[in-house]
C-alpha cells in the first residue's frame, strides 16, 4: 500500500471509530434514560404526596383540618375560604427555587364535578411535572373528593 493511501486509511479509520463511539454513547444513553427517569419520577411523586398530605392535615384556627374544611365547603358550596387558605399555605412552604409551578384541584367523584382549583403561574416542560392525588371521604360513603396535585420542578 502506498504511503499516501495508508495515511488516508488511518484518518478515515479514526473518523469511523469516533463516529461509532459517539453513536454507541448516544444509543446507550437514550436506551437507559427512560428507565432512570421513571425511578426519579416515582420518588418525586412520593415526595409531593407527603407535601399534599401535610397541606390537607394542616389545621385552621378552629382546629379543623383543611381536608375537613374542603368537605364542609363542599356542603356549603362555597370554596373561597378553603381555596385562599390552601393558596397561602402552599405559597408559604412551596420551594419556589426548585419548583416553579404548582396546581391543585378538587373533584367530587360522584358526578365528576370540579369544585375548585389553586394554581401558580410558571413554566416547566412535561417531563419536569410530577403529580399525585389523594381521596377524601365525605359524609356520603359513596362519594369521595379527589384532590389532584401537580408540581413542576427542575430535576437535580
Amino acid at each position: 500500500m502506498k504511503k499516501g493511501t495508508e495515511e488516508i486509511m488511518f484518518v478515515f479509520s479514526l473518523i469511523l471509530i469516533s463516529l461509532v463511539l459517539t453513536l454507541a454513547f448516544i444509543t446507550f444513553s437514550i436506551a437507559g434514560r427512560g428507565k432512570v427517569e421513571e425511578k426519579v419520577t416515582a420518588i418525586s411523586s412520593n415526595e409531593i404526596n407527603i407535601n399534599l398530605l401535610n397541606y390537607l392535615r394542616t389545621k385552621d384556627e378552629n382546629n379543623n383540618t383543611l381536608s375537613e374544611l374542603i368537605i364542609y365547603s363542599y356542603y356549603k358550596n362555597d370554596y373561597n375560604k378553603v381555596a385562599l387558605m390552601l393558596e397561602n399555605l402552599i405559597k408559604k412552604v412551596h420551594d419556589k427555587e426548585k419548583c416553579s409551578i404548582y396546581y391543585l384541584n378538587a373533584v367530587a367523584m360522584k358526578n365528576n364535578e370540579k369544585l375548585f382549583e389553586v394554581t401558580s403561574l410558571g413554566k416547566t416542560n412535561d417531563a419536569q411535572r410530577v403529580s399525585t392525588f389523594i381521596l377524601i371521604p365525605t359524609l356520603d360513603s359513596e362519594n369521595n373528593i379527589k384532590i389532584n396535585y401537580v408540581e413542576g420542578c427542575k430535576n437535580e
Binding site: 486509511m9 461509532v20 463511539l21 412520593n46 390537607l56 375537613e68 371521604p137 359524609l139
Partner: protein, 235 residues
C-alpha cells in the same frame, strides 16, 4: 499491506462489531440485562408502598371521624337505646335497656362498614373513643425482594356525647330501682317531669358535622323514663 497500515481499519471494524453486538445483546435481545432497568426497582416499590399506606391511613382516619359523627347523631336521636324504644329507658329490659356502649358499638360498626372498614375494638373512656381497625398490610414476593409492611390503625377521637354523665344517670336510676325509691331522690341531673314521665336532656360542649343538616351542630341526648316502671316488672 504492511502491519502499520492495516491496524487502524481493523480496530475501527472491530470496535464497530463489538458495539453492535453489545447493542444487540443488551438493548434488543434481552432488555432485562440492561443495567438501568434494575436500578432501584425494589426501593421504588417500597417507597410506593409507604405512599399508598399513608394515603389509605389518611382516608381511613377521616372515614372513622365521619362514621363517628353519624353514629353519635343516630345514638343521640335514639336516646342511647335502640331505635324502636322511642327514647324510653327501661332498666333490665332486653331491648330497651340503656346498654350505652353496646348500642353505640352496633351503630358504629354499621357506619364503618359503609366505608369498607371493619371495627375490631372500641373503648370509650373519658368521653373519648379509641377505635381499633384491621392493620393495613402490604407485601410483595418478587424473586429477589420480599417484604411485608403493616400499619396499625388505632385511632382516638373526642366524643360529642357525654358518656360519663349518661353512665352516672344510669347508675343512679339502677340504685333507685334497687331501693324502689323515687327518681327525684336518686337523680342528681336536672330533668323535666310531665305526669309520670321524666325527661332528661344531656349535652356536651362539642360540635359535630351533622349528616342531616350538613352543618356543625351541638348534640343533645334526650331520653325519658317512666317513674312508675323504671325497670321490667318481674313476677
Amino acid at each position: 499491506m504492511n502491519k502499520k497500515g492495516i491496524f487502524m481499519p481493523t480496530l475501527a471494524l472491530a470496535t464497530m462489531f463489538l458495539l453492535t453486538y453489545a447493542f444487540f445483546v443488551f438493548i434488543i435481545k434481552d432488555p432485562s440485562l440492561s443495567y438501568y432497568l434494575n436500578l432501584g426497582n425494589n426501593q421504588v416499590t417500597l417507597i410506593s408502598t409507604f405512599k399508598d399506606a399513608e394515603s389509605q391511613l389518611f382516608y381511613n382516619e377521616l372515614a372513622v371521624k365521619y362514621s363517628l359523627y353519624k353514629t353519635q347523631e343516630e345514638f343521640a336521636g335514639n336516646g342511647g337505646v335502640k331505635s324502636g324504644c322511642n327514647t324510653r329507658w327501661i332498666l333490665n329490659d332486653e331491648s330497651c335497656n340503656p346498654a350505652l356502649k353496646e348500642n353505640f358499638e352496633v351503630i358504629l360498626r354499621e357506619k364503618l362498614k359503609e366505608y369498607g372498614l371493619e371495627l375490631l375494638e372500641l373503648k370509650i373512656e373519658d368521653n373519648k373513643a379509641k377505635i381499633k381497625l384491621n392493620d393495613l398490610t402490604y407485601s410483595t414476593n418478587l424473586a429477589n425482594f420480599q417484604y411485608k409492611y403493616s400499619v396499625k390503625q388505632i385511632l382516638s377521637y373526642d366524643l360529642a356525647i357525654d358518656f360519663n354523665k349518661l353512665d352516672k344517670i344510669k347508675a343512679e336510676l339502677n340504685d333507685c330501682l334497687k331501693k324502689a325509691g323515687k327518681i327525684s331522690t336518686c337523680a342528681s341531673e336536672k330533668y323535666d317531669k310531665i305526669g309520670n314521665i321524666i325527661y332528661f336532656t344531656i349535652e356536651n360542649n362539642k360540635n359535630i358535622l351533622s349528616s342531616a343538616s350538613k352543618d356543625f351542630k351541638r348534640l343533645e341526648v334526650k331520653f325519658n323514663v317512666d317513674e312508675n316502671s323504671l325497670g321490667v316488672t318481674k313476677f
